[in-house]
């Protein structure tokens, strides 16, 4: 086993995890919402990107924005259905509804795209960089760059712009923010459409690495959860570093122990953290930066 190669794999995987988790980080930090349909949104994003490239003949650079637009639309529809529950902070209903949405998306994707697995090839994924025994693809490099740009951009928007200030106000106290004149409804819509667009973007970037199947998505939810909790709920910077750490752990565990049990291993580490610091995790729930 080439340890350096595994570290490269882990860094790429870690940036992929961080990219997949970024929408959820904001969603949880701002609206205290969870989206169990996140994995299925990822799956739909991957399929739409594949469809746009392979069936509609679009260039990859256009296919990804198309997938993002579809993802944002899904996010808006979901938020519209959950608006009442969101304002009531009825988490039980929200969690169950997002599971329902995920199930609908699973059935609809299988109906539209078929149950056969698909491969998405891009010019970046076919371009290989070799350095002695080490190698990675252009797609791997693009994932790392995209994740860093997106995280830096989100951090800047949240900390340094008016939109970010409004989002942070809603995260702090939605009722008082509304009294202060913030259109909370619009912020919620914005956050959920960002979640949809971000996960579709992540799918468009990461999907060329793996076969695209309607059954995928469950592992992505768990990894996203691990990233968000490890990073400190709602922390953008924390999520980035947690994603990278999880990627390294997954790659090394897969290479050294067993690739079949990597998700289980990541989850057990998470459980250990939850048992050791049960209060510390939830206490950091507020604040989206």
């Amino acid at each position: 086993m080439n340890l350096t190669q595994q570290v490269i794999n882990g860094l790429v995987l870690g940036h992929a995890y961080a990219l997949i988790a970024i929408g959820w980080t904001l969603l949880l930090g701002v609206a205290r919402l969870v989206n169990f349909g996140h994995g299925q949104m990822y799956m739909v994003g991957a399929f739409v990107t594949w469809w746009a490239v392979a069936k509609a003949g679009m260039p990859y650079a256009l296919a990804v924005p198309v997938a993002m637009a579809v993802g944002a639309l899904f996010g808006l529809v979901m938020q519209r259905m959950m608006l009442k529950a969101t304002f009531e902070q009825n988490l039980v209903s929200i969690m169950i509804m997002t599971l329902g949405f995920g199930y609908v998306m699973h059935g609809a994707a299988a109906l539209v795209f078929g149950s056969t697995g698909q491969i998405l090839e891009t010019s970046l994924s076919l371009y290989e960089v070799n350095m002695g025994d080490l190698w990675f693809t252009g797609q791997d490099a693009a994932i790392v760059v995209a994740a860093i740009v997106l995280f830096v951009g989100l951090k800047w928007v949240l900390d340094g712009t008016r939109i970010g200030r409004l989002v942070r106000m809603v995260a702090e106290d939605p009722k008082l923010a509304q009294l202060a004149g913030v259109n909370v409804r619009r912020v919620y819509y914005g956050v959920f459409s960002f979640e949809g667009a971000a996960v579709a973007f992540a799918a468009g970037m990461v999907a060329p690495r793996t076969p695209i199947l309607t059954s995928m998505g469950f592992e992505e939810v768990i990894m996203t959860f691990v990233v968000v909790v490890f990073g400190g709920i709602g922390s953008v910077k924390g999520s980035y570093f947690a994603g990278v750490a999880l990627g390294l752990f997954t790659a090394l565990f897969g290479a050294l122990v067993s690739p079949a049990y990597t998700t289980a291993a990541a989850f057990l580490v998470l459980i250990a953290l939850l048992v050791l610091r049960p209060g510390g995790l939830t206490s950091g729930a507020a604040g989206a930066h």
Binding site: L28, R32, V34, F36, M81, M82, K84, A85, E88, Q89, N90, L91, V92, S93, M95, I96, M97, L99, G100, F101, G102, Y103, V104, M105, H106, G107, A108, A110, L111, F218, E219, V221, I222, F225, V229, A260, Y261, T263, A264, F267, L268, L270, I271, L274, V275, P278, G279, L281, T282
Partner: protein, 335 residues
């Protein structure tokens, strides 16, 4: 006539009607198959019902308890030659062990963190069931013998759905009785109090963590018992018993008629399975229907179908109850 007396008369009548229903509906193999599955899945949903409706948490690990019942039954019957009583006892012990483990780990977790951890438990369980050869790996476990619960010289066996129906009905009846007793017990009251106001519960001398664990221990064997009978109904078990379908079915069953309705999960499962078995539009469309029902009910009718019917019933009753007087059914819209 008081509400309780009316209920005590109506419930046995409903029971007799349900027992005779498959025969009255034609008594074909597909009718008995649907009836057995409705009973099994309703029992599975009742296990989750007390967690969602009474404790106010969303456990996504109940498919694991259901699967634990399936796998325990398959292992004990095929490898150790246990009969139905032995596999049922084993199922309950395993479910209690798992519930204790998950319950202790998640004892201080609430809301979405609790749900996410239980969801992760489900995903890990799928990984284990699909890869661990002890559990049959991706092939699963085959050759489960017919259900045999004979005792004291009385032969009680079932090798097809028609013969399984009385067992499924008995399991359903016992479950409904247990749920009803739970809701009239001190633990049931403590669960509601812990759900609505944990601080107040603590002031009243209730330990919320202890209550949560006890309710978890009460609910897990119920869902597992459904898995026990499901293993006999299918005669084989594989990782597909952990599919999301069962989770969505359970959740829809809990919310469709409205929470804390004693016969709600049964009626909801009957409606869903009737659509899937007799009015199916194909597996994928059925998925879309089931998921959409779940979303639409919670999005627009959070009190369920019974919540819609309540104003109509009020017209017949003449709205004798004052508006300000709380009723136990008003827990249906609690968060």
């Amino acid at each position: 006539m008081t509400h309780t007396k009316l209920r005590n008369i109506l419930l046995p009548l409903v029971g007799v009607g349900v027992l005779a229903a498959p025969s009255m509906l034609g008594g074909t193999g597909s009718i008995y198959s649907a009836a057995v599955l409705i009973a099994i899945f309703a029992v599975m949903a009742y296990g989750l019902d007390v967690i969602v409706s009474d404790l106010g948490e969303v456990s996504l690990a109940h498919t694991v308890f259901f699967a634990a019942g399936c796998y325990t039954t398959a292992l004990l019957s095929t490898r150790a030659g246990f009969d139905g009583w032995g596999t049922l006892a084993g199922t309950i012990v395993v479910a209690l062990g798992l519930a204790l483990l998950i319950g202790l780990v998640t004892l201080r977790l609430r809301e979405f963190v609790f749900s996410l951890v239980t969801y992760a438990v489900g995903v890990v369980a799928v990984t284990l069931a699909s890869n661990w050869q002890f559990l049959g790996g991706s092939d699963g476990l085959r050759g489960i013998p017919p259900l045999d619960m004979s005792f004291a010289g009385i032969t009680l066996t079932a090798s097809n759905d028609q013969e399984l129906w009385p067992f499924a009905f008995a399991l359903l009846t016992i479950t409904v009785y247990l749920i009803d007793r739970f809701r009239h017990s001190r633990l049931g009251a403590a669960a509601i109090m812990t759900h609505l106001n944990p601080r107040l519960a603590t002031m009243g001398g209730t330990d919320p963590a202890r209550v949560r664990l006890q309710v978890f221990l009460f609910s897990a064997p119920i869902s597992a018992a459904a898995g026990w009978l499901y293993a006999y109904q299918r005669a084989y078990v594989s990782a597909d018993v952990l599919e999301n379908y069962f989770l969505i079915l359970m959740l829809t069953a809990v919310v469709l008629m409205g929470r804390r309705q004693l016969l709600g999960p049964l009626a909801a499962v009957a409606l869903i399975l009737a659509q899937e078995k007799f009015f199916s539009l194909g597996g994928y469309v059925d998925k879309i229907i089931l998921g959409s029902v779940l979303v639409l009910i919670l999005g627009f009718f959070p009190q369920g179908l019974m919540g819609l019917a309540k104003p109509l019933l009020g017209l017949f009753r003449g709205n004798r109850r004052p508006v300000s007087q709380p009723s136990i059914s008003s827990f249906g819209d609690i968060k």
